[in-house]
């Protein structure tokens, strides 16, 4: 579904992505793991067309994304730090997104809006929201249009335990519908019962892309947390 071939991105002297290639197929739940500044968010932004790679290309359903923009209709994106127009209310924001996405084609999925109890706050301005509530709005927006690909950048950061549990259940439900899900997270325990594949990045390089079973047999650890920890230690040696 998403294929990136030798994508390189440089910010000044810093190589944020170095010759990264990957393949994501329908129905997979991939977690992007790596230390801070390893290029996870840059990779996601490249896939979304927000950052334009210096070399290499990315295809979405066999179409090069550099000249296409309609493919983003299939993607629900939840940014790490959601930044929204400050003067808009939640209601206006939702209405505007529905307007942009032309919701004749997609059914609107308002489960998360209900579950996060955002319906009671539709008149609140984005400026006045707390970090966690903004994060809830981001999550609700990502799932709103029933996209076939979900890209979630640190979805549970800043959410309270109950909300993050709601979100996790939602992700599992969507995964069972056969959607492609890309997650980055530092809270590995969140990912334990979610992911089917692991991509490990370091300093802009993609170190490995393995299925979770493969990773388990390679490291001899049952839990994802421990498996990754053992990889990190080996990587540092």
């Amino acid at each position: 579904m998403i294929i990136a071939s030798s994508v390189t991105k440089q910010f000044g002297k810093l190589k944020a992505l170095n010759n990264v290639s990957l393949k994501c197929r329908q129905g997979e739940c991939i977690s992007l793991i790596g230390p801070n500044g390893s290029g996870k968010t840059t990779l996601i932004k490249c896939i979304l067309g927000m950052v334009i790679p210096n070399s290499g290309f990315i295809t979405f359903n066999n179409k090069n994304i550099a000249k296409d923009w309609l493919y983003r209709d299939e993607i629900g994106y939840m940014p790490q730090i959601g930044r929204y127009p400050e003067n808009m209310t939640i209601g206006q924001l939702l209405a505007m997104m529905k307007d942009i996405r032309n919701t004749g084609i997609h059914e609107v999925d308002e489960d998360l809006i209900q579950a996060f109890q955002l319906t009671g706050m539709l008149n609140k301005r984005m400026r006045t929201l707390s970090g966690g509530t903004t994060q809830k709005v981001s999550a609700a927006l990502a799932f709103l249009f029933n996209p076939s690909v979900l890209i979630l950048d640190e979805p549970t950061a800043g959410l309270d335990p109950i909300s993050s549990e709601i979100l996790k259940e939602k992700i599992i439900a969507e995964k069972q519908k056969g959607k492609l899900i890309l997650i980055t997270s530092h809270i590995l325990s969140d990912l334990n019962d979610l992911v089917s594949e692991v991509i490990y990045m370091q300093d802009g390089n993609l170190l490995f892309h393995k299925s979770i079973d493969q990773l388990r047999t390679d490291t001899g650890e049952e839990k994802l947390t421990k498996a990754i920890a053992s990889v990190m230690i080996k990587g540092n040696l």
Partner: protein, 247 residues
Amino acid sequence: MTDILRSKIILIYTLILLIATFCVFGLEDNASKGILSVLNIILIVLPLFSIIFSTIYIYNSSEFIELLVSQPLQRKTIWLSFLIGLAIALSLSFIIGVGIPILLFQLNIIGFLIIFVGVVLSIIFVSIALLAAVQIRDKAKGIGIAILLWIYFSILFDGLVLFLLFQFADYPLEKPMLLVSALNPIDLARILLLLQLDVSAMMGYTGAIFKDFFGTVTGLIISCFVLMLWSAIPMYLSVIKFNKKDL
């Protein structure tokens, strides 16, 4: 884009223009003298306001732009709709603030020409502002550059031209001056309008050359065309830049 029109600053800008224009016409007994003073407002205040308002608006909408870029929208569409929104808002307030009084006091071809030039100048400075805003990431730096650009176009450029004129006073400079004036939209607009006002007699020999050129219909069309170029080129460059920008 309705949020631009709702913005209080735009309303205040319109009101100030309106009051200023009415005052000027009320103070001068002769309407054509009044129009000369209005011209000064147009040539100084309008570019300043257009360029600064647009730059600040773009920087304040950075989150909004970021949000839109991650949606199924073409980047060109996003950028052009910002540009068109700003241009329409600023032109509208110019038409209401200056256009209406001018048409009340001076309903003739000069009045319409002034309105046309004012609208074009608004568009030009919106596109210059967008080019500056897309080029520079830092907000404070971007606004600084916008102000510098305004100072350059409305003050420094004239100084440079004067300096050149004195340095090369021995040579016949009238023809090259025509070209030089095309390098600054404000100058071009000023000459274009002054010549329609019959005060060009005060401009000496160079004025006569200008009159020969700008006074004719061809000259008028060419200078209007150059003004259009001044709005199209920064617009085009900023779209190209925005298409390649990382957000």
